[in-house]
């Protein structure tokens, strides 16, 4: 290490104080200072200023510095480049603003301690000549304009539609206007709010509530370590507001985001209650296990997952996509960063909101596997015996007696209720504000026995002892329980229950569930309905997220922020398998067994940032430097109890045999970061940042990595030459370049570890040890260089907004677990090897199709084309076989140079050897016979071996898309969300058992059309039943199981009605709605869920091994606000 910090001895002594202790001291000191200040009315502050022929913006800058206030405005809108003269000597700010702004038709108001400026319409100021002439009806209308918090809005433009006449509201939001007739329509508009048109009719008083326009370009959105207006951002960030996904009856907020963000693919692989979704930013794909983005909640980079977060707590979500946006998160940013901001109370408001829904979940008919009925199964088994020359078991002799038999899909599924309650209380003054959200969700699963409950609380409190100091404490405990047990995937109950004999009765004559369910010649199988009912699964998770921060303003624009964040969690999973439960192949468990897994983790992050914002003339600077430290520790233990005497006592202590294991995982990260945002005249934007990360996961020689980025933006629409193009209301070009890293390599891979390998000698234990892994001690950082260009174009008064991005990402020194020959004694080595490239296009369009006062229709559409390709791999063969598929050919996915990661891998199925001639003339496997599966001899060596397995499909979609339509008509609102993928394939591995020809399972009814003889070859998909012939088709996964997975999913349709309420009543908002989640999926995929994937790893995508069905949910909900 050449770079080394030298510290003064005093500092070295101080360094012994732990970071957290220092943090507490710092807060104490800050509080002490805080007492010195007194809040003053902003407008009463005095200002002395003298300026000649100076731009308004510069004058505002001076005022900001003197009066320690902050203005918010769009230079463009208010015309801040205009030059004026002003002289003021110790004048009150209020008076001064009046002098400066009024002649230039600029109004102001105070919003959250800042002064917002906006332009008055010219028309409103000059009385229109026509108005004087039309005097026939004139009627005076008065009223008040408020925001949704019932605060008067000053400066709102009120215009009589179709005329030039109008006015603006006063400081309280009140207005008065004269209208010519009853048919007059008034248009109310205000920057940052949605315009509203109101027919006057015979009213004389009009009270109007304007709603905030979240899509406003000047809205501040959350970016890494700060906020920025959409206008000024030169990187690629997608945002969605909490309000946009309020009503969806689901437990996961990620489910609500599906289809709403360009470049973000969100897939629901399982319907298990409370289970998370797979989120992939820009087709993020990694050769390592994880391609998940980094989640940051209120500035806290969390470690414990997002599935237990109450969606109602969320104010907004920003997804950082390009390297310029993410590089400040350095080594964890390669897969994108998701910033979640929770709801805070605004000063001066008090509100109580309650929302709730009740839903019923039901498995849709589409995609249910069509299994053989009792009659069909008995017939099949009879034929099987006959074809094998065996005696037909009497059970199968008379198939007709069975009718449809037991439908095991129906037997293990049910209609399940779901309810959610969320109560939010917010109140605040200038000095103190708090927002508390309490939630309770309970969701029974549609599969017997499963269910999820979540109790959540979040208290976000801010304390502002004076105008220089802000202290915040966010505390969010959650407690979640579930009773879910292995239903998904190969060997999961869902798949196996389907294959249970339809001849076996579900219930005994007395109505109780039977214990076992199999017919002669089948695996011993329990009655899975009984197993699901009787099996105990008691899983609990407690999680506390907390942030404590203090921000101190030294000088106007100079802030120091320090924060301590904690993410801690505790989970306990207990399973008890009693003697009335069992598994296939065993039948009922003869002796009960149990397991108890417990884990505790704690991650703390300390961040200290210094932020300085300064405008000098036309130059605007915003600089940030910081240092952060994070440390994680997890302690996990697992106890297995077996040989219980009976089912009566289930705790581990009742077990006859107990085994236990435990482990500890730790990592730490120390980082330095810096960023500078600069803009010239608000239209030339530059942003540069760098982060330097040191991680415990790398050896001492390669511990530190640097992650720089730069981005440029140019707002063309502010240029003079664009002024005449009226159709274009906003146009910005962007370009960015940056480097991010990846530290998902496990905690100790650079250290060869030695662990236990015990033996026994002569009847006593002999403690032994062995080296566990082949360790690359010089392993270093992976680098992801990403280039992004984009444009934002708003047209027709922001009624049509486009955003386009193209990106290209090159990964080099890929951190990759490379397989090595087992002859080395080790299976693999984690090292830097190989390279990947990614590129893609993203387009999102949002249009305001109809924008009338009583009818509004908006459409948001996005589409993303993501591609990836493997450039090089370390293996000498440059190929990696992976995935959960058949072990016979090594896996179900292949990664090979020149192709996308994890392509679907298998045999090319060519049907069956229909007759002897076909058999004699075709390449064969050693076990092939007439009537068995015929595969393509890919390597043309004349025989079929594993070497003929090849790429058969692509699990990556050609494009993904989403569309949301919202319509508001008077009090009614309607929304529909669609999402889908196109061009990806699924290998339906569950057909290994669902079409098994051995007679040991019930199978798809389709199997009836199998090869019976050369004369009766069937459809070619299913082969002969003869003994010893079924292995190839069953175990050699291939194109016989491959399907197109393109789909269009109608995720949600909601219809709501908001009751018109009198503002004077306590009730401010009352809305009811009905919603259907997962309405329908349009797809040719025969399985239930085209988004399924056994594995979330990029090297194991696109495999359907059977999964918990995703229910359709019908719900009714209510939102009440006080």
């Amino acid at each position: 290490m050449k770079k080394r910090l030298y510290f003064h001895p005093l500092i070295l002594r101080i360094m012994r104080i732990t970071v957290l202790q220092s943090f507490l001291i710092w807060i104490a000191i800050s509080l002490g200072y805080a007492n010195n200040g007194l809040t003053q009315d902003l407008l009463d502050r005095s200002v002395t200023i003298k300026a000649n022929n100076t731009e308004i913006r510069q004058i505002l800058n001076q005022i900001e510095q003197q009066a320690k206030v902050q203005f918010i405005y769009s230079s463009n809108t208010i015309g801040a480049h205009r030059r004026i003269n002003v002289t003021a000597n110790n004048q009150k700010l209020a008076d001064l603003l009046e002098i400066i702004l009024k002649p230039h038709s600029i109004s102001y108001r105070i919003v959250g301690g800042q002064i917002m400026l906006q332009r008055l319409p010219q028309e409103a100021v000059q009385a229109s000549p026509e108005r004087e002439e039309s005097n026939s009806f004139d009627k005076q209308i008065t009223g008040k304009i408020t925001d949704s918090n019932n605060h008067g809005l000053p400066g709102v433009t009120v215009v009589l539609k179709g005329s030039q006449s109008g006015t603006i509201t006063d400081a309280d939001g009140a207005f008065s206007i004269t209208i010519p007739d009853q048919n007059a329509v008034l248009v109310f508009s205000f920057v940052g709010y949605l315009s509203k048109e109101v027919m006057v009719g015979n009213q004389t008083t009009l009270n109007v509530v304007l709603e905030e326009d979240e899509k406003s370009l000047d809205e501040l959105i959350v970016v890494g370590y700060g906020k920025q207006s959409t206008r000024q951002i030169s990187s690629s960030v997608a945002t969605v507001n909490g309000k946009d996904f309020a009503d969806l009856p689901v437990s996961q907020f990620t489910q609500k985001l599906q289809g709403k963000l360009a470049g973000v693919q969100i897939s629901q692989a399982t319907g298990t209650p409370g289970a998370g979704m797979t989120v992939r930013v820009r087709g993020a794909a990694s050769m390592n296990a994880g391609a998940d983005p980094l989640y940051v909640i209120d500035g806290n980079p969390i470690v414990g997952g997002i599935s237990n977060i109450n969606p109602n707590e969320i104010e907004s979500i920003s997804v950082l996509k390009d390297a310029s946006a993410t590089a400040l998160y350095g080594s964890r940013a390669a897969n994108g960063v998701v910033l979640i901001e929770t709801k805070k109370a605004a000063p001066g408001t008090t509100r109580i909101d309650y929302s709730s829904f009740v839903g019923m979940q039901k498995v849709p008919q589409r995609g249910r596997p069509n299994m053989m009925t009792g009659r069909e199964f008995a017939t099949w088994r009879k034929e099987l015996a006959e074809e094998r020359g065996l005696e037909v078991d009497p059970v199968f002799q008379n198939p007709e007696q069975y009718g449809n038999g037991t439908n095991w899909f129906d037997a293990i599924t049910r209609v399940a209720p779901m309810t959610d309650h969320s109560l939010s209380l917010g109140t605040g003054t200038d000095k103190f504000s708090t927002n508390v959200t309490a939630g309770f969700l309970t969701q029974d699963g549609v599969v017997l026995g499963s269910g999820y409950k979540r109790y959540s609380l979040r208290a976000n409190t801010q304390f502002r002892p004076n105008e220089k100091v802000t202290i915040g404490l966010n505390l969010a405990p959650t407690y979640a329980t579930n009773s879910n047990t292995g239903v998904d995937n190969v060997g999961g109950i869902f798949n196996e229950a389907l294959q249970t004999s339809p001849l076996a009765p579900l219930k005994n004559p007395d109505g109780s569930l039977t214990l076992t369910a199999f017919s002669p010649g089948m695996f011993p199988t329990p009655n899975y309905a009984r197993t699901l009912t009787d099996r105990v699964a008691d899983n609990k998770t407690t999680r506390i997220l907390s942030n404590l921060f203090a921000e101190y303003q030294f000088l106007p624009g100079l802030f120091l922020k320090t924060s301590g964040n904690i993410d801690m969690g505790n989970s306990s999973n207990f399973n008890f398998n009693g003697t009335t439960t069992g598994t296939r192949g065993v039948g009922l468990y003869q002796t009960p067994f149990s397991s108890l897994g417990e884990s505790r983790y704690m991650s703390w992050v300390n961040e200290n940032t210094l932020n300085y914002q300064k405008d000098i003339g036309n130059h605007s600077f915003d600089g940030l430097i910081g240092v952060t430290a994070q440390r994680f520790r997890e302690d996990a233990s697992n106890i297995n109890g077996s040989n219980y005497p009976d089912d009566k006592v289930q705790t581990i202590s009742a077990a006859g045999t107990i085994t236990a294991s435990s482990g500890i995982q730790e990592w730490s990260l120390l980082s330095y970061l810096a960023r500078l945002n600069y803009n010239y005249k608000g239209k030339y934007l530059v942003s540069a940042s760098v982060r330097r990360d040191g991680s415990s996961r790398f050896g001492a020689n390669n511990r530190w990595g640097n992650f720089p980025s730069v981005s440029l933006g140019w707002i063309l629409s502010e240029e003079g030459f664009m002024a005449d193009i009226n159709a274009v209301s906003f146009l910005k070009l962007r370009a960015s370049y940056g480097v991010t890293g990846n530290f998902n390599i496990g905690n100790y891979t650079h250290i060869p570890t030695i662990s236990a390998a015990n033996y026994a000698f002569g009847g006593s234990i002999a403690g032994g040890r062995r080296v566990d892994n082949l360790a690359d001690q010089s392993i270093g950082w992976e680098s992801n260089e990403q280039f992004n260009i984009g444009l934002d174009l708003n047209m027709f008064n922001d009624r049509v907004n486009f955003t386009y991005n193209f990106y290209r990402k090159n990964t080099s020194d890929l951190l990759f677990r490379v397989g090595v020959p087992r002859a080395s004694g080790f299976p693999d080595i984690q090292t830097n090897i190989g390279g990947l490239k990614f590129w893609g296009h993203e387009l999102s369009v949002s249009t305001s199709n109809i924008r009338k006062s009583d009818l509004r229709w908006n459409t948001d559409f996005n589409i993303s084309f993501d591609r990836n390709e493997v450039v090089s791999l370390g293996n000498k063969t440059s190929r990696l076989i992976s995935g959960p598929g058949s072990g016979v050919i090594g896996g179900s996915n292949i990664t090979v140079v020149g192709q996308p990661i994890g392509m679907l891998y298998g045999m090319h199925h060519l049907g069956v050897y229909v007759n002897q001639a076909d058999f004699d003339n075709s390449p064969k496997h050693t076990t092939s016979q007439v009537g068995t599966a015929k595969f393509r001899d890919v390597n043309n060596d004349g025989i079929i071996t594993v070497d003929d397995a090849t790429i058969i499909g692509n699990p990556h979609p050609k494009f993904i898309f989403g569309m949301t339509n919202t319509v508001q008509y008077k009090g009614f609102d309607f929304s529909a969300t669609l999402s889908g993928t196109f061009g990806n394939d699924i290998l339906r591995g569950s057909e290994q058992t669902l079409t098994n020809l051995d007679g040991v399972f019930n199978v798809l009814a389709d199997v009836k059309d199998r090869w019976r003889s050369p004369e009766n070859p069937g459809k070619g998909r299913y082969g002969s039943l003869a003994a010893g012939t079924t292995g190839l088709e069953r175990d050699w996964w291939g194109s016989q199981m491959l399907y197109k997975a393109s789909h269009l999913s109608v995720n949600n349709v909601t219809l709501g009605y908001g009751f018109p309420l009198n503002n004077t009543s306590g009730l401010k908002r009352l809305r009811v709605y009905a919603s259907i989640q997962q309405l329908h999926i349009f797809t040719k995929y025969p399985g239930a869920n085209p988004q399924v994937s056994v594995s979330t790893s990029s090297t194991g995508l696109g495999i359907d091994a059977g999964s918990y069905p995703i229910p359709r949910t019908y719900s009714l909900g209510v939102n009440v606000g006080f």
Binding site: Q590, N747, G768, G825, R879
Partner: protein
Amino acid sequence: MKFKTIILLTVSAALGSCSNFLDISPKNAVVPSNFFQTEADFTQAVNGAYAPLQSLYNNEASWVMGEMRSDNSHFFYNNDFRSPMPEEIDLFVNGSENTVSADRYYINYDIIARANKIISVIDEANLEKTKSDNLKGQALFLRALAYFDLVRYYGDVPLPLIPASDMPSATLPRTPKEVVFLQIITDATAAADLLPGKAAQEAGRATSGAAWMLLGDVNVHLKNWDAAESALAKITGYTLMGDYAAVFSPSNKNNAESVFEVQYLQGTSLGLASSFPYAFIPLTPDYARYSQGPIGSQSASGSGWNTPTEDLLSAYEDRAKDTRFAASIGFISGPSGVSDTSYVNLPYVKKYQYPHTVFNQTNVNFPIYRYAETLLMRAEVANEKGNLSDAQNLLNQVRNRAGLGNTDAQDQTTLRAAILNERRVELAFENKRWLDLVRTGNAISVMNALGAKMKADPAYFYITPASYSLTEKHLLFPIPFQEIQVNPDLKQNDGY
């Protein structure tokens, strides 16, 4: 100013956090920087090198490849759940994708990697010489044993002798089997010199006797009769147990007849028990009676393997007199566990079934070398060298213990056959038979003949025409195809 100082200090405290902040070592595991130093460390490392033997002999690969592949045993086809991988090996239709034959390959290399590590660093550790010699001798023995297993099943194999440390050293081509044999002889000879005799060694560890036995076995395999004779002659201090059945009893672990056996131990939470006897019991509701253990959940896939063939039953000259018959083979009658078919005198391997307390955790060791085999090997060497009376005497020692009279075989050829058959029944289910058939050149003819007989019998309706069509290729197993995928320098055995 004071304020700014405090800020500075606060930030510095966070900033510096001292260099220790990023130094985190695993708490669950030892790291090499503080291991491979003391005698205790090396003892643990050597114990760790034995550990894969437990996996290997609990693994189906051991009996599927050693016994089921031969004419000694088959599997019981009950039309219910079958596992294709072991069946394909039995039927000679296995390919390089076979996971069972891959397991044997992988586990042997686990032993080799651990032994390599010990052998490469123990001389630098300055341990007391006798301790050091003993530990190093054990490591050399284990390495030789593993390579001998590999070279017989797979032919040419990679021959790593130093620990892999990076990609190139982990990716080696195949070494000709002649070179591998030379290395085995070198290692076994060195081990024999370094190791103490059985009397001076902790029970269950490799001894000089075990090393000489291995060396004898290698030389018998190579038909180096002189070298075999001199190695085997050095195996002293062993006697046959009076009762054949008692040899395998967990109460007689490492008995006077035992030269080397894989150690198992029930009743620990460390997974040191054996479980292979369970695989030999067909699926039956009454299995606890046969396993002599408690009730548990018998799995279909782990049951009904290594079923003795009629051919083996008839290889016993006199089932009544030969105590080995009743000790080795039991019969099951009664309901089966799956269909409502019943078993009628279905033979099963009884040799390893002893009482135990936990389901699927048995306490029996697995014999690798017994003194009875030493005698039979010496008989074979004597016969091949023309010392027929020596051969007869040695053979008769084994026969007499089993309750049989002296051999009738008088000439070299019949004696050769008699010794081979004696090995078949004496060492039945000790995974010797397939290798004996291969090394004596009988595998192809014996197995094809057996296959033809089975195909003609309607009871074996499930045997496909391609089965039991042995050619030279079947004398070796394929290199696991995953090994070739990551190392294209490896060439596959012919025909796979």
